[in-house]
Symmetry: C2
Subunit: 348 residues, 2 copies
């Protein structure tokens, strides 16, 4: 948590000024008018997993209106991501949208930004300026130092809002490369007290994206740079949120939900810890308190790890032992393990 | 790469002494006598993805014999993971096994270790001592500092081999927790010149496990601690290898295969980059040279990122553009994109 950044209110979430790091994700599909019920269910699940702020692309007026209506139905702060057309931003601001992401430089004539900034200020809605390595202005494209180019691009956008007296700003500078992401944010944080949304853009498919994002964002957050984060994966929103919350837990040492230890399985194991973990993953991660859970499948390390956990299960072949804070509470077969584990989980 | 660690030869791979970091994974199922053809195909795929050393549990003599036979059929260095029974270790050493992982302390009477150490030395096979937070000796279990406990446990095992003049040793100290993993390896590296196999044990399901392993292992490897690594996931060997190679690439700045940039998709995108990336992931990661590939699905950042790559594809709705080193080489519809992309990939 950067203690020095200015606080910005994004719906019910405070970003910056040492407030807890909020994890974001972004909706992966166009919103549909007949999809509100499902969207609300998904939002509930994302919230249970640790999502604090949720962004949607608003590519046209119709999308803005759908998003605006959805924002009225949930406490989750919804953010509109807007490019090119100032009218979309204006329309979003007619609804309880928690933040808009828009780059002044791509709105066109200055009077368009005047209108957007005035209306956002009037409604108390913050703006995120988001600069990406894939869409730098042409003159900055040519700079040899991409991190510096990202910072200059962000500062240009900032000046445009500054000139209009608009201060409720969050900035992001995202590169697809870890080093540029680290350096751009370090440089910016050394010069400004503006809240930072951090992320590696287009970090890749699940495994590569988690690794890149972990290295870059842990690198920043553990040194107090960054106030909110998004892990960008070519994968599900749920996985973006889980990656984000794990990065936050490691960077701050504060874990808001369950800490899961689970076994990689090997030729020794007869108990299928992969399948067991997959079945229980979402329920475990949805626990809203700090507990440790161990799912083990080996006589070598299993009982040791399982004993240290608040709730531990260790299987070997068909014999399964369930521990609660180091005490054996069940000695059962694999077929009964799910039911008994579920009961113990509910008791946590 | 720890420049100061002693070199150990693990089959065709040199570990330590500044040699390239080797990525390991561990077989997740028991080997079967009728499964050799499939095992060899899997080994080939793992090698293409970047696996350098492959470990198998050898829980009994029969498993040791199957593994030994398999080791004779592949150039991949195969490692036998042995607990409790010195006869399994002796049997493995009758075959071209590249390394055995065994902890002297759990073999029982000292003469058993005498036999194992003598035969391993005779055959030129190194031993990895692997200490895990889940299976510490009882007196060390009680130490408040788990990192110190891991180091002491490793040193006890080392002494037993030292006393027998056995020097081809690799050590691992794995905790399921990032901080203990970091501290134990730092402490050990500050005292010894022995090659380190680094990893976070039972790091969890895919997302959490990638994040934890990335933070811990990048933290160590980027400071020169660690000579070989394994990412332990409750997930596939392929994903363990991909996570490992990405961590190595970020820690060393040296990428041996393709660098993939891919878009997280959003409500703006009509081109399904998730599905496209999933279809091409293994082919891209199997490329054995340093190339950059971008798979993008957005008019905002897509062309910018795609232009920077050696091979880039950027879709928006049904319109797809394929770039080669910044030049548009195809302007096609989504249906033809796979074929044309595959042709360009083959040309790289």
């Amino acid at each position: 948590m950067a203690k020095h950044s200015r606080v910005v209110k994004v719906g019910r979430v405070l970003v910056g000024g040492g407030h807890p790091l909020s994890v974001q994700t972004m909706w992966k599909e166009p919103l549909r008018a007949d999809g509100f019920d499902e969207a609300l269910r998904i939002i509930e699940r994302l919230e249970a997993l640790g999502c604090g702020i949720l962004r949607f692309a608003a590519p046209d007026i119709e999308a803005a209106e759908l998003l605006g209506r959805l924002a009225g139905m949930t406490g989750m702060p919804l953010v509109a991501d807007i490019h090119f057309d100032w009218r979309i931003a204006l329309r979003c601001l007619d609804y309880p949208i928690a933040k808009i992401r828009v780059n002044p430089g791509n709105l066109g004539a200055p009077w368009k930004l005047d209108e957007v900034a005035a209306k956002a200020a009037d409604k108390g809605v913050p703006i995120r300026i988001g600069v990406n390595s894939g869409s730098l202005p042409r003159d900055l494209e040519r700079l040899p130092d991409r991190a510096e180019a990202l910072v200059i691009a962000a500062e240009r956008e900032l000046e445009a809002l500054d000139a209009r007296g608009f201060v409720a700003v969050i900035v992001s500078m995202k590169a697809s490369n870890v080093t540029d992401t680290l350096r751009a944010n370090e440089l910016f944080a050394s010069k400004h007290d503006i809240a930072l949304h951090v992320g590696v853009t287009e970090a890749g498919p699940l495994v590569q994206g988690c690794v890149r994002s972990a290295v870059a964002l842990h690198g920043l957050l553990s040194r107090g740079i960054g106030d909110t984060l998004r892990v960008s994966l070519s994968d599900s929103m749920e996985n973006e949120v889980l990656a984000g919350r794990e990065i936050v837990a490691l960077a701050t040492g504060e874990r808001s939900g369950a800490d899961l230890v689970s076994c990689p399985r090997c030729g020794r194991a007869g108990f299928d810890t992969h399948a067991f973990t997959a079945r229980w993953r979402d329920a475990i991660y949805a626990i809203q308190k700090q507990v440790s859970i161990a799912v083990m499948g080996c006589v070598v390390n299993g009982p040791g790890e399982a004993k240290h956990a608040d709730l531990g299960i260790s299987g070997a072949g068909d014999k399964v032992i369930i521990f609660r804070k180091g005490q054996i509470v069940h000695n059962c077969d694999a077929a009964s393990a799910d039911t008994l584990f579920g009961e113990e989980l509910a008791r946590l």
